[in-house]
């Protein structure tokens, strides 16, 4: 049915309301896609803003943490009060260098800050301190491995530039819409803006570019990369062109994509929307504009049309001296970099792990480091990987813990693996029973089999707890989680039935 409808739609006259209906219905694109999309190529570039996790803001000593009450982490500098001056936080340079190096960029040993000028209530000085013509890093690239479930494959996307700037505050609009309030907590928080080359062709590629950037900033420890809190924000530029055409089509900017999955879906929607217009000879309806991704209806809608190019009247920031770096400093920062995701992936691949496993293990640097440490303690690669991806990952998920928070050390895991491999214990024994229901069942069994001891316990001989625990442990063949066992056991013993 749907395919018939869309078939009809493409034959409809452009202005008819039915076409608009079809346009606004994402489900229909899916079926249009296959036929039309193969004739077009999408060109995608991404601008990413990453909030740096420095202790203090970029130009003052205010701390910043997401979610603090409005206007509580502000000072004369970030409020733009007269007479206050910016002083650069040197950590911003260090973090910018780290990311620039990790993105294989050329670094500017002599760069500077500039003022980008526009009026907006969340911008207290009337200008944003940014970098214009001499960014701290430029001309790099990023390597990504596409997820196996999307066909896999290795890609390299160009990085145009990385520059330092300060974040603006936030406007909070009243529900009535009659007024807005300004929260300057975020004003002056350091950002790195990363501009990609228009090298991506699909939503998946763009999402993976973003995910790799997130991985990088987390590996480097320069940002928490959290999209929900706005620590990592993507603005996506999408245009399409008939295959074989070298000229770019009109590009559309998409904002409000708050997850990588949204990046992918928003782009795929936009490509379909534009392809449909193209295929109907209505490409002049694709205009340069900013569109907003509406998660609820899974489509992009016009936010604002571009009216000429904004003139930001950039000029060098006279309140800040130029940023001059010595090669020695750069070398120091370079040597402090951790092993980066791409290098890790290639190394794990060479160790014989499947791409699926490689991507899982390198996604989180703490997991990767746990694996590395386990292997360094003598464990066999595949066994270590299986333990981490299997039982440990499941346990972490259940307990809502990170790998840093578990008591198990890589050395213990390595010993465990060694014991199993050496036949000292079986693989099953290596695993604990951590299911409360299962343990409870065993406790009930032991309690019912020992009514005499239970009575003695309840009349005050609490030492018998050890007896019960021993019996239960015996029943579980030593696999019951002792903490869980004792907790449930105590509850049962002390319950007045």
């Amino acid at each position: 049915m749907k395919s018939t409808q869309s078939q009809t739609a493409t034959q409809e006259k452009p202005a008819s309301p039915e076409v608009k209906n079809t346009l606004s219905h994402p489900a229909n694109f899916k079926t249009i896609d296959e036929k039309i999309l193969k004739d077009y190529e999408a060109v995608i570039g991404i601008e990413t803003h990453v909030q740096l996790s420095t202790l203090t803001k970029a130009f003052c000593s205010c701390a910043y943490s997401y979610g603090t009450p409005p206007n509580t982490t502000v000072c004369p500098v970030c409020m733009g009060l007269p007479g206050a001056l910016p002083v650069l936080n040197s950590k911003v340079i260090e973090f910018a260098l780290k990311l620039g190096l990790a993105l294989n960029c050329k670094l500017s040993l002599n760069s500077k800050f500039d003022r980008k000028q526009y009026f907006y209530p969340d911008l207290p000085k009337g200008y944003q301190i940014s970098q214009f013509d001499v960014p701290i890093a430029s001309g790099g690239y990023i390597d990504v491995d596409l997820p196996v479930e999307f066909g896999g494959g290795h890609r390299r996307f160009g990085i145009t530039r990385v520059h330092m700037e300060e974040d603006a505050g936030k406007l909070m609009h009243s529900e009535s819409g009659s007024f807005s309030e300004v929260d300057l907590n975020r004003a002056g928080v350091p950002l790195l803006e990363i501009v990609s080359e228009p090298d991506m062709r699909t939503g998946i590629e763009a999402a993976e570019y973003g995910a790799e950037l997130q991985r990088l900033v987390r590996y480097l420890g320069v940002s928490n990369g959290n999209m929900q809190e706005g620590s990592l924000r993507c603005d996506v530029n999408v245009s399409i062109r008939p295959i074989g055409q070298s000229k770019f089509g009109t590009k559309v900017e998409i904002k409000n994509v708050n997850s990588f999955s949204a990046v992918s879906r928003a782009i795929d929607f936009e490509i379909s929307r534009q392809a449909l217009l193209y295929s109907q000879g209505r490409e002049d309806e694709i205009v340069q504009e900013t569109r907003q991704w509406e998660e609820g209806v899974q489509k992009t809608v016009t936010m604002r049309k571009k009216e000429g190019l904004a003139d930001y009247r950039y000029f060098p920031e006279p309140d800040l001296p130029g940023v001059t770096l010595t090669q020695e400093y750069v070398d120091n920062v370079c040597s402090s970099l951790p092993e980066l995701p791409e290098t890790k992936r290639r190394r794990y691949e060479n160790m014989g792990l499947s791409m699926q496993d490689v991507l899982f293990l390198t996604n989180d640097i703490d997991v990767a480091e746990f694996l590395d440490a386990t292997i360094a303690n003598g464990a066999e690669v595949k066994l270590a990987a299986n333990w981490i991806m299997g039982d440990i990952a499941a346990y972490l998920k259940n307990e809502k813990l990170t790998i840093r928070e578990v008591k198990l050390t890589p050395q213990e895991l390595s010993e465990l693996i060694g014991s199993i491999k050496g036949g000292t214990i079986s693989g099953k024994i290596g695993k604990q029973i951590a299911d409360p229901a299962e343990i409870e069942k065993m406790i009930d069994k032991v309690l019912s089999e020992n009514p005499k001891q239970l009575e003695q316990y309840r009349s005050g001989k609490t030492k018998l707890q050890g007896f019960f625990a021993g019996q239960i442990m015996k029943l579980s063949k030593g696999k019951a989680n002792p903490g869980l066992l004792n907790k449930i056991l105590l509850e049962k013993l002390n319950a007045k039935s």
């Binding site: 001056l85 009026f119 207290p124 000029f315």
Partner: protein, 393 residues
């Protein structure tokens, strides 16, 4: 932080018809008069500070000098004015006008007073990234009378008289007073020679472009959102427009317009960028002249104090009055203005100031030379007639 040490005295609207005075937030319209002749201006923009010292209402005072706002009023009011090297004194707490040119300066009724004040406010400030970490010498150590007993206390000092500052557009009275001061320096043992700064006349337009550009940006924060005048408005753009239209004075609006224009796409290269190139040339030509000379001298202003309202409708004439001082700001150099004589006007003549320009961070030499010059200039007494009797008694 200059004002951390001292209370700013009378700084601001100095009757220069608001030339360098942002006058935001509805500044007062009262005009400060020149103590030498109350029908004349004290100079600006820090004319209030100069007049206060001149009238002996205070020992010393501070001012801000972006293009000559300390030195020209010092000259008009017959007091000592000192513009330190850019970066010598913190700008923290100063409402920025043109950040790359703004300097806090000192007024005193003697070189020693100005030097003591400078010593108190100099040094690095971690709240101003452009403040220098250069060591601060004890500027006061040279204010002894021992050197004055020598017949030629400035023997061997090479002084360059900037030729372009005594050419067209300079009052003949001012020019001859400066030549007299030059002779006095020679009597003290200096070897004075004329030196040419070919880029001198380029400094004025370059200064006005750069200062306007920076101030158009620095004044953006006065948007009525957080403080100051907030005009009642229904929409955001009207709030901005009306608040700024009501809050700023005419001259400030003109500067904002000029600066915005100079920074606009398509004009940036022709104005802002060229002005920056001129600034580099100015800096180099000063450097060359100061390699050959210990200090350079010139008038502090092309005329003595003029009548209140005289240049009100002629902004270009008023801007031209800054020609003696703006180059020094472009080059970021220190300069000391010392009263050196009089021209006709008022009831007792009008004071004229000699500007001495030194190498960067060499305020020490300027103060030493200025002190000896001042202490040996026995024929003049720079106390305005208004209070002469009080001071004498």
């Amino acid at each position: 932080m200059a004002t951390g040490f001292l209370v700013l005295s009378g700084q601001g609207n100095g009757g220069r018809n608001g030339t360098d005075d942002p006058r935001f937030l509805g500044a007062k319209e009262n005009v400060t008069a020149n103590p030498w002749d109350v029908s004349r201006v004290p100079g600006g923009s820090s004319g209030g500070s100069a007049a206060a010292v001149s009238a002996r209402q205070c020992m010393v005072s501070l001012g801000s000098d972006t293009g000559g706002s300390v030195r020209q009023p010092a000259s008009f009011c017959g007091v000592v004015g000192l513009k330190p090297t850019y970066g010598r004194v913190s700008r923290f707490g100063l409402m920025a006008y043109a950040s790359s040119l703004d300097v806090i300066g000192c007024f005193g009724s003697s070189v020693a007073d100005a030097g003591i004040l400078l010593h108190a406010i100099s040094g690095h400030d971690r709240f101003d990234a452009t403040s220098s970490k250069q060591e601060v010498p004890d500027f006061t150590s040279h204010f002894t009378s021992t050197s004055l007993s020598e017949s030629k206390p400035l023997k061997g000092l090479r002084v360059g008289l900037i030729r372009e500052t005594l050419e067209d557009g300079v009052d003949t009275g001012v020019a001859s007073t400066i030549r007299g001061a030059s002779s006095h320096l020679e009597e003290l043992g200096c070897s004075v020679s004329e030196v040419s700064l070919p880029s001198f006349s380029l400094g004025l337009p370059a200064y006005y472009i750069l200062a306007s550009s920076e101030s158009s940006s620095n004044l953006s924060r006065y948007d009525g959102v957080r403080y100051g005048n907030q005009a009642p408005a229904d929409a955001l753009n009207a709030l901005y427009g009306d608040s700024r239209a009501k809050g700023f004075g005419h001259e400030v609006k003109m500067r904002i317009l000029m600066g915005t224009y100079a920074l606009s796409a398509g004009y940036y290269d022709a104005y802002y960028k060229r002005a920056q190139q001129v600034r580099t040339i100015v800096r180099k030509s000063f450097k060359a002249a100061l390699d050959e000379h210990d200090i350079l001298i010139s008038p502090a202003a092309p005329s003595a104090a003029y009548k209140i309202g005289e240049k009100k409708n002629d902004p270009l004439a008023m801007y031209a009055g800054d020609i003696m001082t703006v180059n020094v700001n472009l080059a970021g150099l220190p300069a000391l203005v010392v009263p050196c004589g009089f021209v006709e006007g008022g009831s007792a003549g009008l004071p004229v100031g000699l500007q001495m320009i030194g190498a960067a961070f060499d305020e020490e030499k300027l103060l030493k030379v200025g002190h000896i010059f001042e202490q040996t200039l026995k024929d003049y007494r720079f106390v305005p007639p208004l209070i002469a009797d009080d001071v004498a008694s």
